[in-house]
Amino acid sequence: MILNAPFLLFALVAVWATFMVVTRAVAIHALLYLVVALLALACIFDVLGAPFAAILEVIVYAGAIMVLFVFVVMMLNLGRPDRLRENTWITPRTWVGPGILAALLLAALADALAMAPPDGGPVVVIDTRQVGLALYGPYVLMVELASFLLLAGLVSAFRIGRHIRGEDAP
């Protein structure tokens, strides 16, 4: 049975934290709840027998990407006026579009769950070696495509950060 106690606990935390992300008016508070949601997701991965994916979730998303988000929001210097304006944005009308999309996703999820075997199948622990072999075996094309994406990011960062002679002294 996949719906055991730890899984349910982490799932509840994840859903609650995600709800708080959407409803917070202060950007940093929303980001902190997002970190909590990501940590809860990592715990779910671990419960499902994927410790390597769990730890990568923490290192990459919670530990690196979210820190950069917080870094950017810190630089924006948002104050009380922004908070009040943010509050005026969250009106019942703004919920309609996202609500419909989320309902579609939920329907798809329910459909997928209905097709799954009732016991959820046995939990198999997937270790680091298996993940590595899968990445450089059947999924090697995906890895290469991802590296293309990173290369594009690298080139644009290089272009933006290039030191132009005479413009400013180091």
Binding site: V26, I28, H29, L32, V35, P51, F52, I55, L56, V58, I59, A62, G63, A64, V67, L68, V70, F71, M74, M75, D127, T128, P170
Partner: protein, 318 residues
């Protein structure tokens, strides 16, 4: 025989927190020795109880939160710092049997995950204080720690490739013949430098930078909240020293003496090295720090990975 888990947890916590507290005294005495002065020598034999006196003083100070601060985040920040450092010790194998989490198969990655979360402590402290000095310190910390985490992770990959495992116990056992500090000397040097930057210790303590930023990210903190930052910094020093011991200096292995003593001696020597660096080196400029990271340490750690991989392939049977 494996000791019961509760004994291991309680023992590790007691030793660690006691050590972090006593280090506040030991550091000042050692700095005094190297700078040809006494340091704190009045309370107790040789000033040994100075840490207790400091603790009492800091606990009785007014616990003040500035009215302009973001209260919940301001309180949360020091707790995150302490928590993440203590969590990382969960996977450090002091001896083959003495380790809280036992033999976690992603042990090394777990340490990096907790260190990555530790960044939040400094960054959030800087933001929640709502003061320009604290904010500048927090931004410096974010950029510095994110950058040096990259080299820290990459520099250990040589060790992981040689040992063939992320488990810290396996890594120690793979060093039975030869400590990794010899074949992986490049990785060890990069790891040590990155470790100093991760714990934002002198000479890389630019997030604090007291001659330009007041006290940097913890300018607005007082009382025991400041004490938490202080203690988590010392616990961080012990953590990085324990990691270097585990990854490069053969962990608990050594002749004659019991394993726990070897581990303690190696870690202690590295902690003293941390303090000596503080006494000996001036602080670089911030752009120098970032340039050193991206232009020197990153290529060096990549070179280390490529060379290690080549040697492993050449030696591989078949």
């Amino acid at each position: 025989m494996t000791p019961p888990p509760l004994v291991v947890i309680a023992g590790t916590l007691a030793v660690l927190l006691g050590l972090a507290t006593m280090l506040t005294w030991a550091e000042r005495r050692l700095l005094g020795l190297w700078q040809d002065r006494y340091g704190p020598n009045r309370v107790g034999p040789g000033g040994l109880f100075q840490a207790v006196a400091d603790g009492i003083k800091i606990l009785f100070k007014q616990d003040w939160i500035p009215p302009f601060a973001d209260r919940p985040v301001f309180v949360l920040a020091p707790a995150i710092g302490m928590m993440t450092v203590l969590l990382a010790f969960g996977v450090i194998p002091v001896t083959a049997l003495w380790s809280i989490a036992g033999d976690l198969n992603v042990g090394l990655l777990f340490v990096f995950a907790t260190m990555g979360l530790g960044v939040y402590s400094v960054v959030l402290a800087g933001w929640a204080s709502n003061s320009k000095y604290a904010l500048l310190g927090g931004m410096r910390a974010a950029a510095q720690m994110i950058s040096y985490e990259v080299f820290m992770g990459l520099s250990t990959m040589g060790v992981v490739m040689t040992a063939g495992s992320f488990s810290l116990r396996d890594i120690v056992q793979a060093q039975a013949g030869l400590w990794f500090v010899i074949p992986q000397c490049l990785g060890c040097a990069v790891f040590l430098l990155a470790g100093i930057a991760e714990t934002h210790r002198l000479p890389f303590d630019l997030p604090e930078g007291e001659n330009e930023l007041g006290a940097g990210f913890h300018t607005e903190y007082s009382g025991m909240k400041f004490g938490m930052f202080f203690l988590s910094e010392y616990a961080g020093i012990v953590l990085v020293s324990a990691l270097v011991t585990t990854l490069y200096l053969g962990g608990w292995q050594g002749p004659v003496l019991p394993p726990a003593l070897w581990f303690a001696a190696k870690t202690g020597a590295l902690v003293c090295l941390f303090i000596l660096l503080r006494a000996a080196l001036p602080r670089p400029r911030y752009d120098q720090l970032m340039a050193l990271g991206w232009k020197v340490l990153l290529p060096l750690s990549l070179l280390n990975i490529v060379a290690t991989g080549a040697v492993l392939l050449l030696r591989a049977p078949g």
